[in-house]
């Protein structure tokens, strides 16, 4: 007890004697860095990425970066490409200063390294080889439709739920994004990866690389910006003064 009291009292005495430890004293780390000197992954991720990709990489509206399968699927160069220059066909903006964004190359390196450190897991595919990240075959619409009906429709064709065939949706996501999500899945919202077509996680027959390419090709064929733009402005502008 006495030792505890002394242990408690000592810092207090030191604090009073030292004055440098008063609550108002400033630590060197408090002094503001130039925005381009911020290299802490969490600060960078929380200010630049998490609004779309979710706190800690999960549950955001955009791609689940915290999914270890995603981290295993995408290589550093590709990540750098998307972060720096944005991802064409999606809302992912360009963050590199060279492309009109706010981040330096060193900061982008820090983000990539941080993601790997936080979210990568070894041997996440358990020996199975996923279809390659980049499409390397040509797809077939007909086959894709059949595969889609057989493997995806049971969830995605439920009325008013998860309809990925909406032309507006398909206009807003590129083929690569579709492909990535089919392969890596989204563990946070119950989208299975390529190896499990059962959302509960029970093993099903894996999709082959060709299957994935076919489905993406089929979905791509439904993409029709013209169909979306047909929607007219509903209220007559003359209501405005």
């Amino acid at each position: 007890m006495r030792a505890g009291a002394i242990a408690l009292a000592l810092p207090l005495v030191f604090a009073l004697a030292g004055c440098g430890r008063l609550p108002g004293s400033k630590a060197e780390a408090d002094s503001p860095a130039r925005p381009e000197d911020v290299l802490d992954f969490h600060t960078l991720y929380n200010t630049n990425c998490q609004a779309c990709h979710g706190a800690d990489g999960h549950n955001g509206p955009a791609m689940e970066l915290g999914n270890p399968e995603y981290q295993a699927l995408v290589d550093d160069a590709t990540l750098r490409k998307w972060i720096s220059g944005g991802m064409p066909g999606t809302e992912m903006p360009a963050f590199a200063q060279s492309a009109g964004g706010m981040l330096t190359d060193a900061q982008i390196t820090a983000i990539i390294a941080g993601m790997r450190k936080e979210w990568s897991k070894p041997n996440v595919f358990a020996g199975a080889a996923p279809p390659p990240y980049a499409q390397d075959q040509t797809g077939d619409v007909q086959r894709g439709q059949q595969t889609y009906q057989a493997r995806c429709a049971s969830c995605h064709e439920k009325p008013s739920r998860q309809q990925v065939t909406s032309p507006a949706y398909l206009t807003l996501v590129g083929d690569q994004a579709l492909r990535t999500i089919i392969i890596a899945g989204r563990s946070d919202i119950g989208q299975p990866d390529w190896a499990h077509d059962n959302p509960k996680g029970a093993p099903g027959a894996s999709l082959s690389a060709q299957d994935v390419t076919d489905i993406v090709t089929y979905l791509g064929s439904l993409r029709s910006p013209a169909a979306v733009s047909a929607a007219p402005l509903p209220i007559s502008p003359r209501r405005r003064p």
Partner: protein, 214 residues
């Protein structure tokens, strides 16, 4: 001179008291000389003061100069480094500097390239109260952090308190370099000129506070 006069009189205290008493009763004859000398002393001081004040005022007003004498052409780099259709943040060294300016001589501007040789160079200062606006390429808007002024990509006012669009710099392309006429913090007092010289394409878009450009 007046000091001498004073000390002379102090050596004769009797006379002084006598004359002081006299000044109350007697006529101005005795008094006037002393008062005249006092007035002369004041006038002399006034004159010297005025002579000294002229250089002081000139010194104080030294920074008040014509805008054009502060400005000169500054290069923002290779004109082709700006992609067509995009807006980029650039920074340059202020042409009017002192060695002890430190970081304050970094000035930023937004360069918007509309065509092969069509540019608009915006000052980063919000037209409301001069805070630095930020460009958001996704929504194609400039937003001001201070009082919420928002501008469209062409610099025209979108919403918020500003009365006008963003200020622009005069520009030219010389030897492949994009150059702007800079050197002065843009503000409402010196930008009537800046507006005139901006390229006609941007003026057409600057239509006051109508937010209905859908």
């Amino acid at each position: 001179m007046s000091d001498q006069n004073d000390s002379q009189q102090r050596t004769e205290p009797d006379i002084e008291t006598a004359s002081e008493q006299a000044s109350d009763r007697e006529g101005p004859a005795v008094v006037s000389r002393r008062w005249l000398l006092l007035k002369a002393g004041i006038a002399l001081n006034g004159l010297v003061g005025l002579a000294l004040a002229v250089p002081v005022v000139r010194y104080l007003l030294a920074p008040v100069r014509k805008d054009s004498s502060y400005k000169s052409w500054v290069s923002l780099g290779d004109a082709n480094s700006f992609p067509v259709g995009e807006t980029r943040l650039v920074s340059f060294k202020n042409p009017w500097t002192q060695p002890w300016d430190g970081q304050t001589d970094n000035v930023a501007a937004y360069v918007r390239r509309e065509g092969a040789s069509q540019f608009t160079v915006f000052a980063i200062n919000c037209a409301h109260l001069g805070c630095p606006v930020r460009w958001f390429p996704q929504s194609q808007l400039f937003m001001c952090p201070c009082h919420g002024g928002v501008y469209y990509a062409d610099g025209s006012r979108a919403s918020g308190p500003p009365e006008r669009g963003l200020f622009t710099y005069d520009y030219k392309i010389a030897g492949g370099q994009l150059q702007i006429d800079a050197g002065q913090m843009p503000s409402l007092s010196n930008t009537a000129k800046l507006v005139n010289i901006s390229s006609p394409a941007t003026n057409s878009g600057r239509n006051g506070d109508c937010g209905c450009r859908g």
